[in-house]
Amino acid sequence: MSTSILLLTAGLAAALSVAGAFKAPRLWLSFVLVAAMASLAAAVGTLAGGGVWELQSGWTIGGERVHFRLDGLSAFFLALLAVIGGTGAVYSQEYWTDAAHPRSAGPGRAWWSAMLTSMGMVLLCANGLHFLIAWELFAVTAFFLITLERRWREVRDAGWLYLGASHAGSLCLFGFFAMLAVRTGSWDLGPMRDRPELAPLFWLALAGFGLKAGLFPLHIWLPSAHANAPSHVSAILSGVAIKMGVYGLVRFSGWLPVPEAGGWVVAVLGVVSAVLGVAFALGQHDLKRLLAYHSVENVGIILIGLGFAMIAAHHGHPAWGALALAGGLLHVWNHGLFKGLLFLGAGSVLHATGTREMSRLGGLWKAMPWTAGCFGLGAAAISALPPLNGFVSEWLVYLGLFDAVNAHDTVAWLAIPAIVLLAMTGALALACFVKVCGIVFLGVPRSRAAESAHECGWRMRGAMLLLSGLCVAIGLVPVVFWPAVQRAVVEWRAVEAGVEAPLMALAGCNVVFAVLAAGAGAALWWHVTRRGIRRAPTWDCGYAAPTARMQYTAGSFAGIITEWFAWILQPARHRRAPEGVFPALARQDEHTPETVLEKVVQPAGSVVMTLSTAVRRLQHGRIQSYIVYLLLGLLVLSVLVFAWASSGSR
């Protein structure tokens, strides 16, 4: 089937799904799935078959001809969108039902379809004006999805913060596209690498897309939005929506000339995001907030790859750039998959217990083994452990970075710290996910809610299993997915050099390791159970009656590391030390604020608000002063006008 027909089907199905969203959930789901399948097929076809699909129609929107284009790079992102969009839709059928959410379930479905459609449009549009329209529609639909549960003030605040940040990014893109249009004379997009005067525009694109991608100092909206959105929405936000920012950066760093420093800045921002993202994650005690900070981390890893590829572009495209980019792009998929999986798992926990607070959870593996298993797999994948997918992409990035070091160029000055900090990020992520899995799923339930948890139904489980399966598949047989990555890399700046990595060997190791690990685990379990197992209480140094509250907490677990990062995390500690011989009450709690938001953005905001208050005080209702303003305006304008006129005449 040709790409046109597939995309048309997808579009129609998406449109029809909006119609069915309110009254007919099943119909909606089938339409969404048809749309997802069709666009996935189109993406896979483009990635496998090569070539670029283009459609230029005579039909205009806003005075511009409609121009769609699907090439290797956009197809790469479209495939991810289709997978997560379809999976999330299945999941939401059980997670956000009409029975539980009578007011928001219907709109939620409609917005979901709208958001998928607008993201697809972002990927397809090859006209700056239409790109902006699709971009902004996607941003606004995401806002309504985040704030589906509008009853809670927290949700509304998170949504508003998202909206504001997103609009700031959009306005940067206004500037970007307008300046691009002025300099090229049209809104058409496409490769224009041979026009060096366009290079400075990259900085605007970096700000605009970086805000959406959640780069470190620009990530302020991300944690609260991801935490407060319904979980299937968090999954698509983290899995796909922030990747749209990455898409923008990859797309326009490929199409436009990039400034010499561009790659360096992107790579440095990537490194900073990676390390600090995970550091902030460690300080969290809200399950979904923690996952949200890991999105910052992983976007950082992706951008390390992109940054080095951009540096490479200024060095004549050596192979290490392509490798790093390949790693980054594969990580786009991988992060989409495992972060989607983790958010769906977190949603399942939330659904079963009603809380995201890790200190109220624990021991959930017993009640929800499927969720625990899938989440554990996702945790291993995001910690970049072999044989799963996260390792494959990070490994590719490492290969690129090591080769960059061995290129003995100035780039080594960045590549070496990047390698070291990437390793540190990996170890920190591992620590963080040991904490999450251990505190949430292992041990003993810490609250009544966690005790009475229940496993989710087949739709939620199926969605998680599908994503788990994909995580394993990319880990074990990356060679199957590799041509797609290669295609996207080649598409990036049309360098045909190709990118090669010993993936067969790695895949072999991964498969052998997976088989052996499974075998050894089963063997040991069999060996142990054959003898019979005696059960006893956990050893607590002789204390015979351990309680759930004596377990290690998330805060203590991460305490050593958060102490190292206290300079940036700025944790707020409230401590009431035990006093007296028989201390009645003692407590200690620690909260890691969103430092950039609370220490930088909010003070800046309060300066603006002070200014606003001062200015508003001028509107005090006394008409005499209003006439003074009028007269002052007159005087200042006359001074200006006569000054300009006299300077002009001279």
Binding site: G63, F174, A178, A181, Q619, V641, A645
Partner: protein, 480 residues
């Protein structure tokens, strides 16, 4: 003579309203006048009258590009007025209907005026005709608003009269005979006395700028828009300001012809950006959603002014924005009016949870807020983007970034207030005090039509409309 009909028809309507004996049926005049005006405007567009040299009234390219917007605005508003007045049987509507019709006639006159004095007379008269409209609610707050509107607007308009005289004197000191038609003044061009031209420019800018609501002359605006019925707000924000803006454009053309176009552009740019900054700061803090619309209007007047400073491309964008702003503002004012009536207040602690009280109006309002803050695919997105593009094309990168920054602050302020009005719980007092406000089709369809029009304007801007704007922009710049 056709162009006179479009002015006289509303006046006839006004006289008919004054003479109409029955209180209950007088409101039906509104749609009749609106439709007649729209038909006449359409006729003028299809079959433009020949320009008469030296005529004081003419349906030139500029009026062609703007008058249809005002006509459309009035037409839709008139249907809203029909339903609105039925909800307000306790108020006599003789003066109200007559003033609305008169306002339309005077706006049509001022948009077609080719003579500085006539322009002034029509704008001043339009100002006076809106006073009874502002005063319609007869509350103390309405009186206060009308007083401030009158005194500040009056002072401003007096300054523009002084400016008009200065321009006339510039011609008198130069070679001309003090002919105040724009064509004559433009022909004199560089022969005009520079100091008097500059003085005239400042005075006229401040004067008509007061009517437009550019900061720091905007002080009457929040009071007037906050207290007037929604329909009046819509007509003021979309019609009155447009007339004043067109006046400034025409004067700018003369100043340009006199060789001071650069200075004029700079002044417009500075004043526009200043208005945007001030409006953004106000928007961040105001707790009243009708006053919010007023500040938003100040901001958009700033956008118009910035666009007018950026050459032909900017002028086209400005004219486009005149359309998209007035139509989108129409949706906002009408839905805000509904919400205000339902809640009994337009301030935040009193008016919350509007999604529950007025579900449709609240949603229209929300969509309108997104539309007016340049979210696609509505009209303002396209026109503002065009302004941004024009700024970049004119090399005003710094101004472009300031412009974008103001848009951001305004967006933050608007959305924050809008959502705190829409969300939350409705106040019980508002629910119980009056027998619950019901949204009827008559007061819902007009704002929806405005939204649809805004959408149409953005997504499928008709070529003929673009042609009108281009032509007007070209005539408004001094060739050379």
């Amino acid at each position: 003579m056709k162009e006179l009909l479009v002015i006289l028809a509303p006046f006839a309507g006004a006289i008919a309203a004054l003479a109409w004996p029955r209180e209950g049926t007088r409101r039906r005049l509104l749609p009749v006048v609106g439709a007649a005006h729209a038909v006449l405007t359409g006729w003028l567009l299809v079959d433009p009258p020949a320009a008469v040299e030296g005529s004081w009234i003419g349906f030139d390219a500029v009026s062609r590009a703007v008058l249809p917007a005002v006509s459309l605005l009035f037409l839709v508003c008139s249907f809203y007025g029909l339903s609105y007045l039925r909800l307000r049987p306790e108020r006599g509507n003789r003066i109200f209907v007559a003033s609305l019709c008169g306002l339309l006639g005077l706006l049509s006159l001022s948009l077609q005026a080719q003579h500085l004095g006539l322009l002034w007379v029509s704008v001043e008269a339009a100002t006076l005709s809106t006073v009874p409209l502002l005063h319609f609610n007869r509350t103390g707050r309405a009186v206060e608003a009308a007083w401030k509107y009158l005194l500040i607007g009056g002072t401003g308009i007096a300054l523009s009269l002084l400016g008009s005289f200065c321009l006339g004197y510039a011609s008198l000191v130069g070679t001309g005979g003090g002919d105040l038609t724009f064509a004559a003044l433009g022909r004199e061009g560089a022969a005009l006395s520079r100091p008097w031209v500059l003085a005239a420019w400042v005075l006229l800018l401040v004067g008509y700028g007061t009517k437009m609501g550019l900061a720091p002359m905007h002080t009457w605006k929040p009071d007037a828009y906050g207290e007037a019925p929604g329909i009046v707000g819509a007509l003021l924000a979309g019609g009155m300001t447009t007339a004043a803006f067109v006046a400034i454009l025409r004067v700018r053309q003369v100043v340009d012809a006199a060789g001071e176009g650069l200075v004029a552009n700079r002044t417009l740019l500075v004043l526009g950006l200043f208005s945007m900054v001030v409006a953004a700061l106000f928007l961040l803090g105001t707790p009243d959603f009708k006053r919010m619309l007023a500040y938003s209007s100040v901001e958009h007047m700033g956008i118009l002014s910035v666009g007018a400073a950026l050459g032909v491309g900017g002028l086209v964008a400005s004219l486009f924005h005149v359309w998209s702003n007035s139509i989108t503002k129409g949706a906002l004012f009408l839905s805000a009016g509904n919400m205000r009536r339902a809640a009994g207040s337009s301030r935040v602690p009193e008016a919350t949870g509007m999604v529950w009280l007025t579900p449709v109006s609240a949603r229209v309002f929300a969509v309108g807020v997104f539309a007016i803050t340049a979210c696609p695919p509505f009209g303002p997105f396209f026109s503002e983007l065009q302004v941004v593009r024009a700024a970049s094309a004119a090399g005003q990168t710094g101004a472009m970034f300031l412009f974008l920054g103001c848009l951001l602050l305004a967006f933050l302020g608007l959305t924050r207030l809008a959502f705190s009005v829409l969300d939350g719980r409705p106040r019980r007092s508002a629910d119980a005090s009056r027998d619950r406000f019901r949204e009827t089709a008559g007061i819902l369809v007009p704002p929806l039509v405005f939204l649809a029009a805004s959408l149409w304007l953005g997504l499928a801007t008709p070529e003929w409309l673009r042609g009108l704007w281009d032509e007007a922009a070209r005539t408004l710049t001094y060739p050379g």
